[in-house]
């Protein structure tokens, strides 16, 4: 027994040393490649938000092949630990760092100030620095379209929306969705429940069930898992997905449509600009025109005329003839927030903290 | 004991066993032989090494050197499971039952070949059968908490029988038993011996040795100093002599009885059990004056312990009053009562008297640490405390490797001495002693009694609770007898007899009153 332990120890030590020898040689080989750090809020296995980001990262990796090396940091909390993680990425040789969740922004800005020679890319916020950009997509456009579909398919006119946090991003999405709903059915309402988490399968499901219990027959969501959609279709009701094509993942036609991201379309040109030495700080808000956002295939349950109407609206937005937050908008207390003929500025959209008419619920 | 059923084959042979602990040689080349059907009484002063020797036989400790033969086969015994497999079982000085489990569960707890889900129905049947056979009345479903000490003892014995032990080790089994319970135990032992079982019996009660055992072996300071057939011993005095190595006084000098002011005055004290039922204390009234020892006699469990805990503030009373030193102290906090000058030697030394995981020195200072002598404001004077503890260890001859040794490593008797030293040193007029000589050797018992008398002679009021009538008659000035929460009578110690006390203890009131 004792001899066995000793033997095991020796084997372990020898193999450790042998391994060590081998990989040291490998380490020094590649310096010409661009090292890219990517920070995710959750493991990409969530099949939601981080998953879609990772799809973008993979597309970028495939596009550049040997020219880039990606270091992924998953499941990083949105507190000061994220600063340390960024510092570690920089130590590991990263020249550009992406971070995909809202609350990283302050920490990223802090690190950016300390490392002027590294580029920083923050997704979904608005802070910047000469070496830090923020980027996002006009997902609200897709939310509007999915709202139209939801309104058409809802028999009761009561639609539920499972929201993560009351950040401007989520509030904007709910507003756009509701405007889409109201465009088809001016009497329909959208009821919001907050889960106060991006990623928590059971809480997300609970939220959806609460809405279904109140009589909602379509459930939309701004969450990272498929649980709200699953809860809806399990009860024979409809769902609107998000992030990825939930219809395919859940395997049910009652998932009517999913607004989706295509982050690769941002990451590829950005990395290219670093390689070319033309990177510039910006606040990037991509829309339909550069295909950062799109709709999944629409479920066959949705009538053809409705699909046509959606496609027409999409074309209008693509051609910049019309956008979601144009014209008179009232908030859900009935007060006029924007007069007819006005267009909401990006700044106002990025900081929005009130709900439009038709939303049942409150931001705070 | 006459009905000896031995055919002379040795079942246990321990040869030249040595065991040392840091700072002490607990056993020094001790040899011991137990024959089939024999009861061997193992005697010795507190800390002589009796429990240690037995703990090696059941595998709790390992000898440093020496060998053990069981039924003629050389054995290494590593654990109680090992010894159980060899048919050896032990009842420890401190019981090892799990309080919140049932009798049946305790009996099978830790057994090796138990299936994952024990067949409790069968187990209970077997327990009931065994208890009938030996006349040990227990209820398998009762929870250990709710049992008296005597009943717990029966559970311990059943545990051994259930597991088929042929060699029984009883470490001071009668120390906590009432005289009646001791007699029952004697009967049970006899029945077991008649079935060819053998026993090693540790006790400090000399009369038990004379009536229970076939052979006597005496340990002194870790060495075996004598092995003798019980029949060859003339009297108790000789036995005590063998143990201590000097003459033991069985009568004590004391000053004249000159009682002063009433220090403890208890009036119409009533304590009711939680949830209703017969009162635990039923209109108890008495007073203890300075310069007297007031004894309380009674079979354990008749309210004596609750009475002392009420006086020391540990239990709440429902009626009546307690005055200490003239001040009303009814339902005051234990601290207020301690500050009033009351010392308390509690009944349950392991659970109430000491903190086992703290050192001897710390335990000795647990009453006085509040005083200016041992602390300055909130800060303890560490070096002063060390000197204080050193002094007490010497004055009360506490046997310990050092004052830094954890109290739990001391022998039972020395733990009791630690408590005694602390309480007597602190005593400021009132001393409440509950079974103070339980588990003490004859020498130490003598010392305790002397100390109680010394307190009395110095003018303290001493309340002594004891089950041993000889002790009360020898030490006390007045004796109250308690039965079912009531005081049956209060007698002058010089004018009463064991017989009269015995009647009262059984609840038979004195005639002609």
């Amino acid at each position: 027994m004792k001899r066995g332990i000793v033997l095991l120890l020796i084997v372990l030590l020898v193999s450790m040393v042998a391994f060590g020898q081998g990989s040291k040689d490998k380490a020094s080989a590649a310096d010409a490649v661009l090292k890219v750090g990517v920070i995710y809020i959750s493991p990409p296995g969530d099949m939601g938000y981080s998953y879609m980001h990772d799809q973008g990262t993979i597309a970028m990796e495939q596009h550049f092949g040997d020219k880039v090396e990606v270091i992924r940091m998953e499941d990083i909390p949105e507190n000061e630990s994220s600063e340390r993680v960024m510092e570690n990425l920089i130590d590991a040789g990263c020249k550009i760092i992406f971070a995909n969740s809202y609350n990283y922004q302050q920490y990223m800005q802090n690190v950016a100030k300390r490392h002027p020679n590294v580029y920083f890319e923050h997704c979904s916020g608005y802070l910047d620095n000469p070496n830090m950009s923020n980027y996002f997509g006009r997902m609200y456009q897709m939310r509007y379209l999915s709202g139209m579909i939801a309104a058409r398919m809802s028999a009761s006119g009561k639609i539920g929306y499972v929201g993560a946090y009351n950040t401007p991003e989520v509030v904007r999405g709910i507003n756009a969705f509701t405007l889409g709903v109201r465009a088809i059915n001016p009497k329909a309402t959208v009821t919001v429940v907050w889960t106060n988490t991006w990623f928590d399968p059971s809480l997300e499901r609970q939220g959806a069930i609460a809405l279904l219990d109140q009589g909602c027959d379509v459930i939309a969501q701004h969450q990272d898992t498929t649980e709200p959609a699953k809860a809806a279709v399990e009860r024979g009701k409809y769902a609107i997905g998000y992030n990825a094509d939930f219809g395919k993942i859940v395997g049910d036609e009652r998932v009517l449509v999913s607004p989706m991201w295509n982050w690769g379309n941002y990451m590829i040109p950005t990395i290219q600009s670093v390689l070319d030495g033309t990177w510039k700080s910006q606040s990037y808000w991509g829309g339909l025109e550069d295909e950062m956002i799109h709709l999944s295939p629409i479920s066959p349950l949705v009538p053809a005329d409705m699909v046509k109407a959606v496609e027409a609206k999409q074309q209008e937005m693509h051609d910049k003839k019309w956008d979601v937050f144009w014209g008179e908008i009232r908030d859900n207390t009935g007060a006029v927030r924007q007069k007819s003929g006005e267009k909401m500025s990006d700044e106002a959209m990025l900081t929005i903290d009130w709900f439009v008419e038709g939303v049942i619920g409150s931001v705070y | 004991m006459e009905d000896r059923n031995t055919d002379g084959t040795p079942v246990v042979r321990m040869i030249d066993i040595t065991k040392t602990f840091p700072g002490v040689v607990a056993n020094d080349r001790v040899s011991l032989t137990l024959h089939k059907g024999e009861v061997l009484a193992l005697l010795g002063e507190n800390g002589a090494g009796k429990s240690t020797l037995m703990n090696m036989l059941i595998g709790l400790y390992q000898p440093d050197s020496g060998s053990i033969f069981i039924n003629g086969v050389h054995r290494q015994i590593h654990s109680p499971q090992d010894s159980m497999a060899l048919g050896i079982g032990m009842i420890h000085q401190e019981f090892m039952l799990v309080g919140n489990m049932s009798v049946a569960e305790n009996i099978v707890l830790g057994m090796k070949d138990l299936p994952f889900v024990p067949p409790m129905g069968e187990i209970k049947k077997k327990i009931t059968a065994l208890s009938k056979r030996y006349g040990l009345q227990v209820y398998p479903d009762k929870i250990i908490h709710d049992l008296s000490v005597g009943e717990q003892q029966r559970v311990e014995i059943l545990k051994l029988l259930y597991r088929g032990a042929d060699i029984l080790i009883l470490d001071e089994p009668t120390a906590v038993l009432t005289p009646g319970e001791s007699r029952d135990l004697n009967e049970i032992l006899k029945r077991m011996l008649s079935e060819g079982k053998s026993a090693i019996f540790i006790t400090h009660k000399m009369d038990e040795v004379m009536s229970f055992s076939h052979t006597v072996q005496v340990l002194r300071r870790g060495k075996s100093v004598a092995v003798k057939p019980t029949g060859d011993i003339a009297n108790v005095q000789e036995l005590a002599n063998m143990m201590v190595g000097r003459d033991v006084l069985f009568s004590l000098d004391r000053g004249p009885y000159e009682p002063g002011l009433a220090m403890v005055e208890v009036k119409d004290l009533v304590m009711l059990p939680i949830g209703g039922g017969k009162p635990i204390l039923d209109n108890v009234s008495f007073s203890v004056r300075s310069g007297e020892i007031f004894g309380i006699a009674g079979v354990a469990g008749n309210g004596q312990q609750q009475l002392t805990e009420a006086i020391t503030g540990l239990l709440h009373v429902d009626g009546g009053s307690i005055h200490l030193g003239g001040k009303n102290m009814t339902n005051k906090s234990p601290l207020a009562i301690i500050k009033g000058g009351v010392s308390h030697i509690p009944a349950d030394r392991g659970r109430m008297g000491v903190v086992g995981d703290m050192s001897v020195g710390e335990n000795l200072s647990m009453k006085k640490y509040r005083t200016a002598e041992l602390s300055h404001n909130a800060v303890m004077k560490k070096s002063r405390i060390r000197r204080f503890a050193e002094d007490l260890i010497e004055r009360f001859t506490i046997k310990t490797p050092s004052q830094d040794t954890s109290v739990k490593f001391l022998s039972g008797g020395n733990i009791q001495k630690t408590i005694l030293a602390r309480e007597i040193d602190f005593c400021r007029g009132i001393l409440i002693a509950v079974y103070p000589s339980r588990g003490l050797d004859v020498g130490a018992t003598e010392a305790v009694r002397q100390n109680l008398i010394k307190q009395r002679d110095q003018g303290s009021a001493v309340l002594l609770v004891s089950e041993e009538l000889e002790e009360l008659l020898m030490v006390a000035d007045r004796i109250a007898v308690m039965f079912e929460g009531r005081i049956m009578d209060i007698l002058d110690a010089n004018k009463t007899t064991t017989e009269e006390l015995g009647m009262l203890m059984a609840g038979v009131a004195r005639e002609g009153r």
Binding site: M1, L9, L12, M16, V17, F19, G20, S23, P43, R72, M73, D75, E78, N79, E80, R84, E87, N88, L89, D91, N103, Q105, Q106, L127, Y165, N166, N196, T351, Y364 | F21, Q62, F69, G72, V73, H74, R75, Q76, H78, D82, T312, L314, S333, P334, L335, I337, I338, K339, H344, P346, G353, V355, G356, D357, M358, E362, M366, Y369, A378, M380, K382
Partner: protein
């Protein structure tokens, strides 16, 4: 051959020191095995982890800064554990501290700025103490089980903190959280990322050591923890001391929260339930409730966290960090068994007739 555990006759000093060291070695070997199975080189990985935690000045600074709240939470839990009061609510008491200081920093604007920090810290400490005193009181008065109450109270205050930073106190802009404290009221840095909280933590170690080992009250707490009934017989008031002990325990956890938010986060924000309070339980346990040993253990725990970034950088799966932390902890905790027990093999000893 069979082996089994046997109780040691005596607790030896040598074992108390040797066992943790050996456990640590076993931990690393276990970790090495797992790493080998995931085709990573253990030596290189450990080296990277070590470098990740201590490889440069900034890394040392990050590790020390992380160790400060961990140490304080370990001390907090240790005080309660000394009383055998199973306070697993240090997490909640920490958050109470953060809420307390944030309240002052946000709303006591009538105060001169230089007063915000000291008053904020005092209020944070008070909030932590109060949050801990509630289960203490429930236990003392009605013997309500403290493991349950302290645990439940964590969830209550986590929910409340969430309500504050998402709704009631949410800043109009910036991260999901309250507005940042005025910069003049931040706890100053003393060496890179290392802030003045280190002084507080180290001073507290000394003070606590003094209280626990040198004062009457410490003596009483020790008695209560080791034998409640005996302590009562010696006139120690159990109820009062449980409440007092919990006040102290909670105050220290609250201090941890106040310091960390005054020095590092400067706001009440998402991520406030960082798990420091739970790690504090492990720290208290592993350091055998000794404040000085806690310093070392807190540093190890901090290094395990800061160092495990290296695993992902080496392209190991993200769960590996937690696996490694667990692997390193389990033998350490299990190892404590061997301080009191030893392993013996049995067959080699049974011999034949005399």
């Amino acid at each position: 051959m069979r082996t089994h555990l046997q109780k040691r006759d005596n607790r030896s000093m040598r074992m108390t020191i040797l066992v943790p060291i050996i456990s640590l070695l076993v931990s690393f070997l276990l970790g090495a095995l797992v790493l080998l199975l995931s085709k990573a080189n253990p030596l290189v990985t450990y080296q990277a982890m070590l470098k990740g935690a201590f490889g440069s000045q900034t890394k040392i600074q990050y590790t020390i800064a992380k160790a400060v709240p961990l140490l304080l939470c370990g001390l907090a839990v240790g005080v309660a554990f000394r009383l055998k009061f199973w306070n697993i609510g240090a997490e909640g008491q920490y958050i109470a501290g953060v809420i307390g200081i944030t309240w002052v920093m946000q709303f006591w604007t009538f105060l001169p700025v230089w007063l915000l920090l000291p008053i904020g810290m005092v209020v944070g400490v008070a909030c932590g103490a109060l949050w801990a005193a509630i289960p203490g009181f429930l236990k003392a008065q009605w013997s309500v089980d403290e493991t349950l109450t302290t645990l439940m109270m964590n969830y209550i205050i986590i929910g409340y903190a969430e309500y504050l930073y998402i709704n009631a106190w949410k800043a109009p802009r910036g991260n999901m959280g309250t507005i940042l404290y005025p910069e003049a009221a931040w706890l100053p840095r003393i060496w890179g990322r290392v802030h003045a909280g280190v002084y507080f933590a180290l001073a507290l170690v000394v003070v606590l050591y003094f209280i626990l080992y040198k004062t009457r009250w410490g003596f009483e707490l020790n008695m209560i923890g080791k034998n409640r009934r005996a302590a009562q017989c010696q006139g120690v008031c159990i109820k009062r001391n449980i409440v007092l002990g919990m006040l102290l325990s909670g105050a220290i956890a609250g201090l941890a929260g106040a310091i960390d938010s005054a020095a590092v986060t400067h706001q009440l924000t998402k991520g406030v339930n960082s798990g420091y309070g739970f790690t504090g339980i492990i720290i208290a346990w592993m350091s055998a409730l000794n404040p000085f040993v806690s310093i070392l253990v807190a540093l190890i725990m901090a290094a395990l966290e800061t160092g495990s970034d290296a695993l992902q950088i080496m392209k190991l799966p993200s769960a590996m960090g937690e696996v490694m932390q667990g692997l390193i902890l389990i033998p350490l905790l299990a190892g404590s068994v061997f301080i009191d027990y030893r392993l013996v093999s049995r067959a080699s000893h049974t011999e034949a007739t005399p």
